[in-house]
Symmetry: C2
Subunit: 220 residues, 2 copies
Amino acid sequence: MCGKVCHTSLIGGFMEDKMVPNIVVGRLPLYLRTLQLMNQEGRRVTSSQELGERLGISAAQIRKDLSQFGEFGKQGTGYSIEFLTKQLREILHVDKVWDVAVVGIGDVGHALARYQGFSNRGFRIVMLFDSDQHKIGTQVGEFTVQNINNVVPMIRQSGVQVAMLSVPADQAQHVTNSLVEAGVKSILNYAPINITVPVSVHVQYIDPVLHLQRMTYYLE
Amino acid sequence: MCGKVCHTSLIGGFMEDKMVPNIVVGRLPLYLRTLQLMNQEGRRVTSSQELGERLGISAAQIRKDLSQFGEFGKQGTGYSIEFLTKQLREILHVDKVWDVAVVGIGDVGHALARYQGFSNRGFRIVMLFDSDQHKIGTQVGEFTVQNINNVVPMIRQSGVQVAMLSVPADQAQHVTNSLVEAGVKSILNYAPINITVPVSVHVQYIDPVLHLQRMTYYLE
């Protein structure tokens, strides 16, 4: 939502600063996911045409998006799935694994703590927090639920920069303030409320109703 | 993802057909959610400036988006929150309540069945389905879990057009085919896999990793 940002890429041996629109950055994870699925299917090579058909995006758009970051394919021979996957993982900084804290262990927090979709995609949950005395100390998946009162020192000490927020809406801003104080730089917010953070912190929202309303627009 | 669609709006007493980009449609639910929060705060009037500050979108963009659908505010006096809310609900077709089926009652399905964020936003869950004999017949929230084998006749008879899909990835396409056969027109897919549907059916994806990767792009 912050307009454009500066992306530094190594092209032709020299560093070039480019402004890459957020909307383009937002499509890269879709491309990466599709490439990883193709790889699981045993595929080696793909094209912007095929990627576009799988994603409902035009081939021209995909070529244009990727061209912002370099030359990843040859005319006529398409993209090496392995090479393009590696490049996208580097661009998105998921060639490493990010430790993630989950704050709020209700239904959504439970689902996240046991979600199988993180592995090999750059993230692993390492900590769970809740304020409910009945939940603190219990085991969820591989983890023991920690007391939310300890969230600042524990996150600060661990160096965790990514958090998923699944607390009730009326607690979301208060908990967010603690996460920011602890050094968290990226927050995925499941609470159905907008939260305020400093410009150095990124927030993404998961609210099923936003997605449902985008679709009912097209229904009679 | 389907480019542009035809939107019919009543402006100045005559019908005008306009093509509204998907990206604009996608922002309307954000505006609506923010207006509903302002209303809860007891507010009566807002401006594109204030909406923009809350959402990290420029005031000019908000004015441009809304102008695609009509004239909703007066220069200098801003928008009536009540009036703009009503208009956006009509545009997004959430001035009625849509019945929703949840298919796949694992952690995510449980969370959805008990999610408090649907009320007053145009949706209510009316049916749950699963294939697990241990879950079929059990109670989750207000509902009894139904056998997935009955999904086509039950959805067809009820007229449900909206479904949330929270089955494992390897079952997602198979179940999607049944939902389409049953007449579902909008699918919110939580399975970390792309599904294929006829052009008359809309799909939105909820995959936390896509959102996390959009943010790690900006992290060092």
